[in-house]
């Protein structure tokens, strides 16, 4: 391989058809309320862990759908499962079960 002093950039574009949506499907089958999310961000604003870290349920809910499981996995680590997000969610998303099922799905598919 020759060194030209530069290399190709990884594409920022989400290639929807190339990502792995098994995790989303797994979660959706067990907790369909995830699809009620309208990405308003109320959850992220109230999040106890989000006070100290970058945790955002809104982003997790979204990136999960896009199959960007690496980020989901990393971010979800900080969740304390306290349930504030669930209480403020205007659409009734069962956020805590979503989180649990995501982690379970990550284990299942060894993501």
């Amino acid at each position: 391989m020759k060194n030209f002093g530069y290399t190709r950039h990884t594409d920022r574009q989400i290639d929807f058809d190339a990502t792995d949506k098994r995790l989303y499907q797994f979660v959706f089958d067990l907790e369909p309320s995830i699809n009620l999310c309208i990405f308003c961000g109320t959850c992220a604003a109230t999040c106890s862990a989000g006070h100290f870290t970058t945790l955002s349920f809104r982003r997790i809910s979204l990136l999960l759908r896009r199959g960007m499981n690496d980020i989901v996995k990393k971010e979800i680590e900080n969740c304390m499962l306290c349930g504030k997000c669930q209480l403020v969610c205007p659409k009734g998303v069962n956020t805590r079960n979503v989180i649990l099922q995501i982690v379970k799905g990550i284990e299942k598919y060894e993501l």
């Binding site: 106890s48 304390m80 306290c82 504030k84 209480l87 009734g92 805590r96």
Partner: protein, 589 residues
């Protein structure tokens, strides 16, 4: 020796039952931890044994707790248990008098009427006939009630009744047929030999007028014996297994054995002691709003049959009402908590970020206030607490003013005990690091885990307890008003930690406290329990509305509670203000 081939089914059934039970109980006892076994052996020589006997009489025969919850149901259970017990006792005595022998064949008392026709021969024989017939009548009445309950459970004041599995059905139908068949068999015999009491004798005469009793007598005894056979053989595989198992449970429990941390042989006794009476279904608020079979009785059944679903395990408010009302005293909420750990996750959470984010107080103080996640969602509570403490001149440290590290109980409720421990470790460090001597929290969820799992070595109080102390010490004075209040007992505070009186005493200092239909240990859950991972939001709201309906029945001016989560939950559905006890105190200070 009395013998006819028809005794074989009964004898065989009784032997099989005995063998199965002995094998099973032996296995469970072996599975118990050594310390528990030691407690059990020594229990025979301690008052525990006599306490157990008394409890067996009270609960297994008389069914006092069932009576308390539902008199009709209690009567039915008592009729069967105590009635059958007496039937066996009197039958045995009768046999002894009859044969003038101390040892008889075990089936002799059961089939006595068939073998012995000469009723005049022994002491008090007519009296025995009367007693035996009377007991049979009671049992027949109980059978009738049982059948009627199956068809019309509402007649018993029960909205729902348990669903049966095959083993249950066979055992149930055989039990239903035992006493009617005994009645027929004895009547037929007495019709031929005129030796029955007021019931079988009369019926025998009546039957003999239109039935060929000569041909029917033997088949009837066969049928009776066979029904007993079926019942005995299926008993260990049906709900009726609870009858023998409960005796052991009562004894073991009285010996101080309990399930904690993980399942043991004792847990098996607990699980198999469930009579599937169905009381827990009616007491479960989830049953009101969802058709799912998730109540304690189903949960235990699924464990017994080894088909436990995660749905069942996690679809529970853990409010503790089932345990509170269980006539057998099975701690289903504890068992469910333990079962949840089967689903715990290997990894996936990490909280290293927590401890460095929360600094200790600048100056050492004695009192630390921990608002908790939920209190941050209901800021009026923390504002009220701060106002009260400032006004009372308390120097305190607001531990989680700038962000809360969750107490870990929500995680623990999800079965992830290991991860919850990580979180607790961070929080414990923060609390210890703050150097306080008394920890006050507004959140019963936090309070419970602080007390039960943190081992902080300092005083941990709910804010209602602390506020009462301030009031009693005269640091705050409360102005009574004309207002009337209803109080909602939070599950974790009430049933969980048995703190019922402090909030009530505070309310009483501020106005009049109304009684509600179900309060204290019987109180309803607000519906928003963090323990439930399955119930969809609309159903939670339905539960909340049921609870509110009951709480607001007597038109209070305000509804008081002592948990930020309950307040948050109840506020959306209430047409009167919902306040935390701290807010009430702050307003009336």
């Amino acid at each position: 020796m009395n013998y006819n081939h028809f005794v074989i089914p009964f004898a065989a059934g009784a032997l099989i039952l005995f063998a199965i039970l002995v094998a099973r109980y032996a296995y469970w006892i072996v599975q118990m931890p050594r310390s528990d076994r030691r407690k059990a052996w020594t229990g025979f020589f301690r008052p525990a044994f006599f306490r157990s006997l008394w409890e067996v009489f009270r609960e297994s025969l008389i069914h006092k707790k069932v009576f308390r919850v539902n008199a009709m149901l209690g009567w039915m259970h008592m009729s069967f248990a105590f009635g059958w017990f007496l039937l066996i006792i009197f039958g045995t005595i009768e046999t002894k008098f009859h044969k003038h022998k101390v040892f008889n064949m075990p089936y002799d008392p059961i089939f006595l009427r068939y073998f012995e026709h000469d009723e005049k021969q022994f002491f008090f024989s007519q009296g025995f006939s009367f007693v035996m017939d009377f007991l049979l009548l009671i049992l027949l009445a109980a059978t009738f009630l049982a059948i009627f309950k199956r068809i019309r459970s509402r007649f018993f004041g029960m909205k729902r009744t348990t669903r049966l599995i095959l083993g249950d059905r066979i055992a149930l139908y055989s039990l239903w047929s035992v006493f009617p068949l005994r009645f027929l068999a004895e009547s037929f015999t007495s019709g031929l030999h005129h030796n029955g009491g007021f019931l079988t004798g009369t019926a025998g005469i009546a039957f003999s007028s239109f039935l060929p009793l000569q041909q029917l007598e033997l088949p009837a005894w066969w049928a009776y014996s066979s029904a007993l056979f079926v019942f005995f053989v299926f008993l260990p595989f049906s709900r009726y297994n609870h009858i023998p198992t409960e005796l052991f449970l009562i004894f073991l429990r009285n010996c101080g054995i309990k399930t904690s941390g993980r399942f043991s042989g004792f847990t098996e006794f607990e699980i198999y002691s469930c009579s599937r009476c169905g009381i827990c279904i009616d007491k479960c608020q989830l049953a009101e709003v969802r058709p799912q079979q998730t109540q304690a009785v189903y949960f235990l059944q699924q464990i017994r049959r080894n088909i436990l679903q995660p749905q069942t395990t996690f679809n529970c408010l853990q409010c503790g009402r089932c345990t509170e009302f269980c006539p057998v005293g099975i701690k289903a909420d504890t068992l469910r908590s333990i079962k949840r750990t089967d689903y715990s996750l290997e990894y996936g959470f990490s909280y290293k970020y927590a401890e460095e984010k929360i600094p200790p107080p600048a100056l050492p103080v004695d009192v630390g206030y921990f608002a908790g996640c939920m209190t941050h969602l209901t800021p009026s509570i923390k504002i009220a607490m701060e106002n009260i403490m400032k006004k009372a001149g308390v120097r305190y440290h607001f531990i989680d003013r700038d962000g809360t590290v969750c107490c870990g109980r929500p995680l623990s409720l999800s079965g992830n005990e290991r991860q919850a421990r990580l979180l607790m470790r961070e929080n414990k460090y923060i609390i210890r690091n703050s150097g306080i001597k008394t920890l006050v929290t507004s959140c019963p969820i936090c309070l419970r885990v602080f007390r039960e799992s943190y081992d902080l070595g300092i005083e941990v109080l709910h804010h209602s307890q602390y506020l009462l102390r301030l009031a009693e010490e005269g640091k705050i004075s409360l102005k009574p008003t004309d207002a009337v209040f209803a109080y909602h007992d939070p599950c974790d505070l009430g049933r969980g930690l048995k703190i019922y009186e402090e909030p009530r005493m505070l309310i009483a200092r501020c106005g009049e406290l109304l009684h509600t239909q179900q309060e204290k240990n019987e109180a309803l859950c607000c519906g928003n329990s963090l323990a439930d991972f399955v119930t969809p939001e609309p159903r939670k709201q339905e539960m909340r509305d049921h609870t509110l309906q009951e709480l607001l029945l007597n038109n209070p001016d305000a509804l008081i509670t002592a948990c930020p989560l309950c307040k948050k939950s109840l506020t959306y559905g209430s047409n009167v203000p919902v306040k935390d006890i701290a807010e009430l105190v702050a307003e009336n200070q």
